[in-house]
Every structure is written in C-alpha cells, then in structure tokens.
C-alpha cells in the first residue's frame, strides 16, 4: 500500500473489497434495488423483534381468550371468549392492586420530580465541588435494585435499623416498623424508589438546565424580571420537555415495578403493597392460571400504552 501513489491509496480499501468480492455475489447484489438492499439490512433486526416481542404479544392476546394452564401442557386448550376479562374486571381485588400501583407511581413521580429538580437547580449553580456531589448523588442509581431492596430491609429493621433510629432522633415514637405496618409499607417502597431514582430525574433536569442559553437570562435581566419570573417564564418552560421525558421513562418503569417490592415487602402486609406486577406474577407462575393472567397482562399493556400515548402527545405539544 505504501508504494502506491498517495492519490490512489485513499480509495484503495474500497477497491480491495470490490476485488475480493466473488463475481457471483457482485452480480447478485448489483441486481438488487435500493429498497431491496435496505430490507436486507434491517431484516435480521425485524426477525428478532418479531420473534421476541411481537409474537409473544399476539400469543398472549390469544391465550387471554383461553383457559390454558402452562403447568398442564397436555390438556386441551378451550376457547372461553371474554370470560377471563369479565372475571378480571369484576374482581374487586384487581382494583385494589391497580390502586396500589397508581398510588406508588403518582407519589414516586411527584416526590422525585420535586427533589430531582431542586437538586438539579442546586448543582447547576456550579459551586465548588459540584461535580463531586453530582457523582455522589448518582451512586444509588448505579446499584442493582435487588441489592438496594436487600440492604434497605436491614435499614428498615424496626429494632436495629438506622432508619427507625434517625426518625426517633426527631420524634420519639419508638421502633418504626416501615415494612410491617399497613400504613407505612407503601411508603417504604416509595422512599427506596425515590432514594434510588431521584438522581435520574436530576440528571435529565440538569441536561435541560445546561441547554438553556445564558442570553435568555440576560434578556430577562434587561426586561427587569425578578428571580421568580426568570424561573417561571424561562427555566421551567425550557426544561419541561426534559422533565416530562424523565417522568415518562420512570413512570413506565414504576408501573411495572416488581423487583424492589419483592425484596422489601413481597406485596405485604396482607396485600397493601401488592402492585399489579406482583399479582400478575402470582397468578401466572404460582397459581398457573395462564389464560387469566394473560388477560391481566393485556389490560396492563393497554393501560400503559394508552397513557403513554396521551403523554407523548402532551410532550410533543410542549416541545412544539
């Protein structure tokens, strides 16, 4: 290659590839249209998507209309029409599980947005050591939910845990049983999720804040806006798309929240923290009511999908 004139060495790789390609292949590829080549390139991905996403989805929808039980593979599958759905929607417990899920999603989002945005505004002041504190704040997000769940159960120990101890420093209420109490158990998960995922909201808010050009604040300063007006009319509208995106991602994740609940409360006490995904797993893989749980899964899917779409429409409107 080095003894080639420099002008030719620039395209020599293309040349060499062309020369190394067997004639038969060249003929065949040359015969394809651009569209055909495009399909050729994306087909492996499409096949993979069909196999692991689309097909199971369709299969789940089909199973939701049957009385299939996955632990009895030999049994005949009967078409039961909409009976699974009727049973689900008539089951008051299901509404309880959905309520627990909604309670969890709404409160985690409200608290995390508030704290996350506040932290981002603080970090964005670029004080000394800001990048160090950013890293410290991000640590919880990097841990595995299973690990987080396990060590928080220790922190939540009513007799020996540090959580109860700290609460008692402020108000002497005696041992605080976060996980065992019907009133506190939902909040025990909300606190852990907030501890773990607020940094994520903060990070996206920070990205939003950094994207606001300085000149907007200069113009506002000239227009004699006060600090509150600058926040309300410039900062907030500019970071809204980022904030909404963060809530979308975290909202969908929390709607499906499973692992941390299993580690902390396993749905208890009673069924106070039995969020939808926990119940779904119980129906599908403990009671083996595959048809029924498929119907539940479809309902959950449609709910998330519908809410997600409405939300994305709102997001696009904000972004304009």
């Amino acid at each position: 290659m080095t003894d080639q004139p420099s002008g030719r060495s620039a395209d020599s790789l293309t040349d060499r590839v062309a020369r190394a390609t067997p004639g038969a292949v060249v003929q065949r590829v040359r015969g394809l249209s651009d569209t055909a080549i495009a399909w050729l390139f994306i087909s492996p991905t499409i096949l993979l998507l069909l196999a692991i996403n689309i097909f199971p989805l369709i299969w789940t929808v089909y199973l939701s209309f049957t009385n299939y039980r996955a632990n009895r593979p030999g049994r005949a599958i009967d078409w039961v029409g909409t009976r699974n759905y009727e049973r689900l929607l008539g089951n008051e417990d299901i509404w309880g599980y959905l309520q627990a899920t909604a309670h969890f999603v709404v409160w985690t989002m409200v608290i995390q947005v508030f704290i996350g945005l506040s932290l981002a505004l603080l970090i964005n002041r670029n004080f000394k050591g800001a990048s160090f504190w950013t890293t410290v704040i991000l640590i919880p997000m990097m841990l595995s939910p299973a690990v987080v769940g396990t060590f928080w159960t220790y922190l939540y120990q009513p007799q020996t845990g540090i959580f109860s101890y700290i609460i008692n420093l402020f108000v002497a209420v005696g041992p605080v049983d976060m996980i065992g109490s019907v009133d506190l158990a939902p909040w025990s998960i909300i606190i852990v999720d907030t501890w773990m995922w607020t940094p994520y909201i903060m990070l996206l808010c920070l990205a939003g804040l950094r994207s606001i050009p300085e000149y907007l604040y200069e113009a506002a300063e000239i227009d004699r806006a006060n600090t509150w007006q600058k926040f309300w009319y410039i900062t907030l509208p500019r970071i809204m798309p980022f904030l909404m995106l963060a809530v979308l991602f975290r909202g969908i994740e929390n709607f499906k929240m499973f692992d941390m609940v299993v580690e902390l409360t396993s749905g208890g006490p009673g069924s106070t923290t039995e969020v939808a995904s926990i119940n779904l797993k119980r129906e599908a893989f403990e009671k083996w009511r595959t048809g029924y749980s498929s119907a539940f899964a479809v309902i959950l899917f449609v709910t998330v999908f519908g809410l997600g779409n409405i939300y994305v429409k709102a997001l696009n409107k904000v972004k304009q």
């Binding site: 200069e218 300063e221 806006a225 304009q320």
Partner: protein, 351 residues
Amino acid sequence: MAEIVLNAISKSFGSTKAVADLDLTVRNGEFVVLLGPTGAGKTTTLRLIAGLEKPEAGSVAIDGMDVTETPTSARNVAFVFQQYSLYPHYSVFENLAFPLKAPGQNLTAAQIKTRVQEIAELLRIDHKLENSATALSGGEMQRVAIGRALVRNPTVFLMDEPLSSLDAKLREDLRVELKRIQRDLGATIVYVTHDQLEAMTLADRIGVLDEGKLVQIGDPREVYETPASVYVAQRLGSPQINLLAVGMLELPSVPPSATTLGIRPEDILLDRSEGAVAKVINVEHLGVETVILLELAGQHLHALLGDAASLEEGAEIAIGVREGAVLFFDADGKRVDPLKAGVSEEAVYGT
C-alpha cells in the same frame, strides 16, 4: 432621561483586554454611535453600561448615580441584542409584553395589549403577533428585539448592531424611524455598529474604538474631516481613504513630520493638464456617482466622481488633489495638523 458617564473603565476576558481604561460621557438625549471593527470592544462597552458585565476597574454612572454595583434589572436600561435573544418558547406578543410584566409596572392586560399593538404597528410586525418567536425571518426577529426595547420607557437605550440582519430597504426605513423615535422621546441612545453609513447618518456623535480604547469622539463631520489617526480615517468613508507615501504626489507643502498622505476618494481630481500620471484600471458607474480605480506608481487609488465620467479603462490621465484636502499622518499614524506644524501656505486647510 439620562446621562451616562463611563470613568476609566476596564474589562478583560482571560488575557484579552476587551475594554481598556475607557472614558465616555453620553449626554442626556444624545445619540452616540460606537464604531469599530470586530473585537474593538464595542459590545463589551455596551454590556458594561447595561451591567451584564462587571468592570475590573473604573465606574459607570447613569443619571449622576454610580451604578457600578447595581444589578442590570435595577438600571432601567433597554438592550437590543445583536443575536435578538428572543424568548423562543413564546409568541411575538408575549415577547413584546414581557418587559411590561416586570415587577413594579402594574399595567392591566388591556394596557399591555394596547402598548404592544402600538409598537408592533410602528415596527410593522403587527400581523405576526401570534406567531412563535422562532417562526420569524431574521429581519422580523430583529424588529421584535427592537420592539422589546421600545415597549417600555427606559432611561437609556443600548443597541448592539440592531439593523445588521435587515435588508437594505428596511434598514433605511428603520434608521429614519430610530432617529425619529430618539428625537420624539428625547432618548439617550448608545448604538454599536461597524457600518460607517449608519454611524454617519444616525449619530449626534461618533466614538471610534480601537482595541478597547476610545481613539476619537466627535460629531460625524468632525471625525470625518479631521480624523485623529489613520485608523479613524479608515473607519469612515466609502470607498476607503487613499493612503500614499509622502512624495508620491507633488504638493505645495508638507509638514516635516508627515510620512503618509490621506486623500478621500472625492478629493481626487482627474484629467488635469499636469501632475502625476495614473492609469485607469476599472470604472464603476453607481448611478449618481462613479468609482474609479486608478494605479499610481504600482499603488491602487480610488476616486469618486459626482458626474458620470466617460473614462476608458486602460487610459492614462494626470491626477491632482483638491486644494487643502490632503490629510497628513506621521510615522505613528497620528494626524499632523499643517497649521500647527507652522506651514503658512496651507492656511486654506479646513475651510
């Protein structure tokens, strides 16, 4: 209205001195244009007056009050930014209404609407009020930016090349409009540009900046006719002033310290019976006037003729200079006044 006094003000960015020890007084109701090339410190000077930059040394006073430590929002100055700085997520109306919603304005929604409508009509953007600020052309954005400054009654207007991205016709209209607004309101305006035509037409006084220093300030004619240095002479006039070494033209008298001659294109006389012989390189007919590019002893000269001269390219003609119109500069580029240099023959100079 207000008087602005900058006293020995300095500002650096890193190792670059943007403004160095600058003194400037803008009188009440005066239109001062700061002229200079990119990097001369024009914008920084404006930002120092507005308080968007903090000076390292010196002080800023508006209306007799030292405002060096006062935040921008308390200075009551309006600023037209070169890059418009509109609020991209709001409509044109909301952009114009924003300054009226500042604390202490206490205007009703109807009053705000009327005021915005007035300004929008003045700047001919009233049909775009409902548009998003980002869905405008460059010229429209610039007009919104000007409107945002005009909509409230500030003590001082600071304008950073406000007409730079407008087309020629609109620029001319707005130039007249700005001058009219300034007279009507009696507004104090500091205006930054690198366009010498804008400077000449708008200014009560022109201040020429060079590397953060104010090299000359005076009314446009004065700066044009008696520039303090070669640098100032080059800033005003189109085509630029011709610079020749002393001795290239025969002149009745030359101050002894002068090394460079400056001759405005309109002061070059063509078709003389005697004098230095120059070659015509190019002739540009601009309608009312004609620009002629000449070559004299290997150096290019521009001449500006009021009438449509019928000169042919390649012709050789004798040239001269209008009497008393030559500017003399010394080796440092400073102008040498022939009167002060004691050359009596040049007594007609400056009449």
